[in-house]
């Protein structure tokens, strides 16, 4: 039986996936138990065809969240990468409570 990982660090990233170095830094800082929340311009990662190579740096067991309102504001409703789970703002708060700390990457 696999023990469920505890909730450790919530990584909050807000730049578009064009900022390759920022994504490398963020994804290299992940350990099991962490999660990544994509906000503001980072929501474009969910429709970025070039994103796979940097995405591979993040192990499959790291959950990816993205803000629903930031997606809709940018006209992004379909063809989203299935790895991303869109959430409401109140769940952003819940994530911050659930995880022991946050790191903002900007």
């Amino acid at each position: 039986m696999i023990k469920a990982a505890s909730h450790e660090t919530l990584h909050i990233i807000n730049k578009s996936p064009g900022d390759i170095l920022l994504y490398q830094n963020c994804f290299s800082s992940l350990l099991a138990g962490d999660a990544v929340l994509f906000i503001e311009s980072a929501v474009y990662a969910a429709i970025d065809d070039n994103f796979q190579s940097v995405l591979d740096l993040a192990a499959n067991d790291i959950p990816f969240f993205t803000l629903q309102d930031d997606l809709i504001a940018r006209g992004l409703n379909n063809n989203l990468n299935l790895r991303f789970k869109a959430i409401e703002d109140n769940y952003f708060v819940e994530l911050c409570c659930l995880y022991k700390k946050s790191i903002s990457w900007f």
Partner: protein, 120 residues
């Protein structure tokens, strides 16, 4: 002084900073001074031309109306990169203004045609 024309390069996604609005305001000012203006969208900048944006959710102003109004100021030359469209799964028809799609190698050739380039 030789005749001037100007290329404004946009490189940033919508809402992230004030550079897109600032470049657009330069475009309008130059046009009012009868300087021919062209706009080149690189990287994430094409994303701001996407239709169906709902910036009111962010309590932010989007620039779509201003882009659409540029034709009234005789600003009609817009360029985007095919590779950027592809990257972000965009069809040229989804853009709010009619843009010419360039290959990467055509950017350098385009730049050469202008006396002035502003790249905020």
């Amino acid at each position: 002084m030789a005749d001037k024309n100007i290329l404004l390069i946009f490189r940033n996604p919508p809402f992230a900073d004030s550079s897109n609005r600032d470049s657009l305001d330069i475009a309008l000012a130059c046009s009012a001074f009868d300087i021919p203006v062209s706009l080149l969208f690189l990287n994430d900048a094409v994303l701001q031309l996407k239709s169906n944006q709902q910036s009111e959710l962010l309590e932010q102003k989007n620039l779509l109306k201003t882009f659409k109004a540029l034709a009234m100021y005789e600003i009609k030359n817009f360029y985007v990169l095919g590779s950027d469209l592809q990257r972000y799964q965009l069809d040229p028809k989804q853009l709010v203004i009619s843009c010419e799609t360039l290959k990467q190698t055509e950017v350098a050739i385009l730049i050469r045609k202008f006396t002035t380039v502003i790249n905020l």
